[in-house]
């Protein structure tokens, strides 16, 4: 699975990079992993995904936070 490493970045960079990644990969339908270290992202990434109609699932929260994100799923 493709992995997007956004660790070490503070708000709002994780969602800016996630958005850029999505616009650079317009055809991507497969799920991918988003890894972040900013603790605020624990709530912010799901909020962003909900707003952007992306499916988002928390995979782990220690040591880094990992989400599985996918386009076009029902939210």
């Amino acid at each position: 699975m493709q992995r997007l490493d956004l660790t070490g970045l503070a708000c709002p960079m994780p969602i800016i990079k996630l958005k850029k990644f999505l616009s650079q990969n317009p055809a991507l339908q497969d799920p991918f992993i988003v890894e972040v270290s900013d603790s605020g992202a624990l709530k912010d990434i799901p909020a962003f995904c909900q707003q952007q109609k992306l499916n988002c699932e928390l995979r782990q929260s220690q040591p880094n936070i990992e989400f599985q994100v996918q386009r076009g799923a029902d939210v």
Binding site: C11, P12, I15, I16, Q51
Partner: protein, 176 residues
């Protein structure tokens, strides 16, 4: 009849920036870039000292605890106990008026932001423009402060408050 349709987020976000210090510049650019990636149309209006946030030369963007008792001032370097101290609480206010103190506080603030994983204010400002955030400098205050268009970064528009109100939403705006 009550309307049960879901409440949609405002597609627009606007902010009036009146402060020209480094910390408040960060606050605005962080909010603006976030709103922009969440598909809001973002309009920033810079007036009075907020104009400093748009200058090519950002050396004037500083932080100083002088006259700002709310500020938390912590050292980004040193042992753990030392970094926990809020020096704005510990030291008498007089200390911040000593020569070099605002430079020291600014350096410390930048260092702290870097350690947080935050980018420079210049890079964050550039990101905002790349994301399509619209920035307008208040022409009246530009003239009043003797600034020239050349002093400003590219991508900034010059207009007055009427233009700002004509283009901004009636739902949400902030004054910083």
């Amino acid at each position: 009849m009550s309307d049960l349709s879901p409440v949609h987020a405002s597609p627009q976000f606007s902010l009036i920036q009146s402060k020209g210090t480094l910390d408040w510049a960060y606050a605005s650019f962080i909010l603006a870039s976030t709103a922009s990636v969440m598909d809001k149309e973002v309009e920033l209006f810079f007036t009075f000292y907020g104009l400093k946030c748009l200058l090519k030369d950002t050396s004037g963007l500083k932080v100083s605890p002088l006259g700002r008792p709310e500020m938390i001032v912590k050292s980004p370097v040193g042992p753990e106990w030392f970094r926990k101290v809020d020096w704005n609480q510990k030291l008498p206010g007089l200390v911040w008026s000593l020569p070099g103190m605002s430079n020291l506080a600014t350096l410390g603030f930048k260092q702290q932001m870097k350690q947080q994983g935050q980018m420079s204010v210049e890079a964050l400002r550039e990101t905002c423009l790349e994301l399509g955030v619209k920035m307008t400098a208040c022409q009246m205050t530009v003239d009043m402060m003797g600034l020239q268009k050349d002093d400003f970064i590219d991508g900034v528009e010059f207009a007055g408050a009427p233009s700002y109100f004509a283009q901004t939403p009636d739902t949400q705006s902030l004054f910083i």
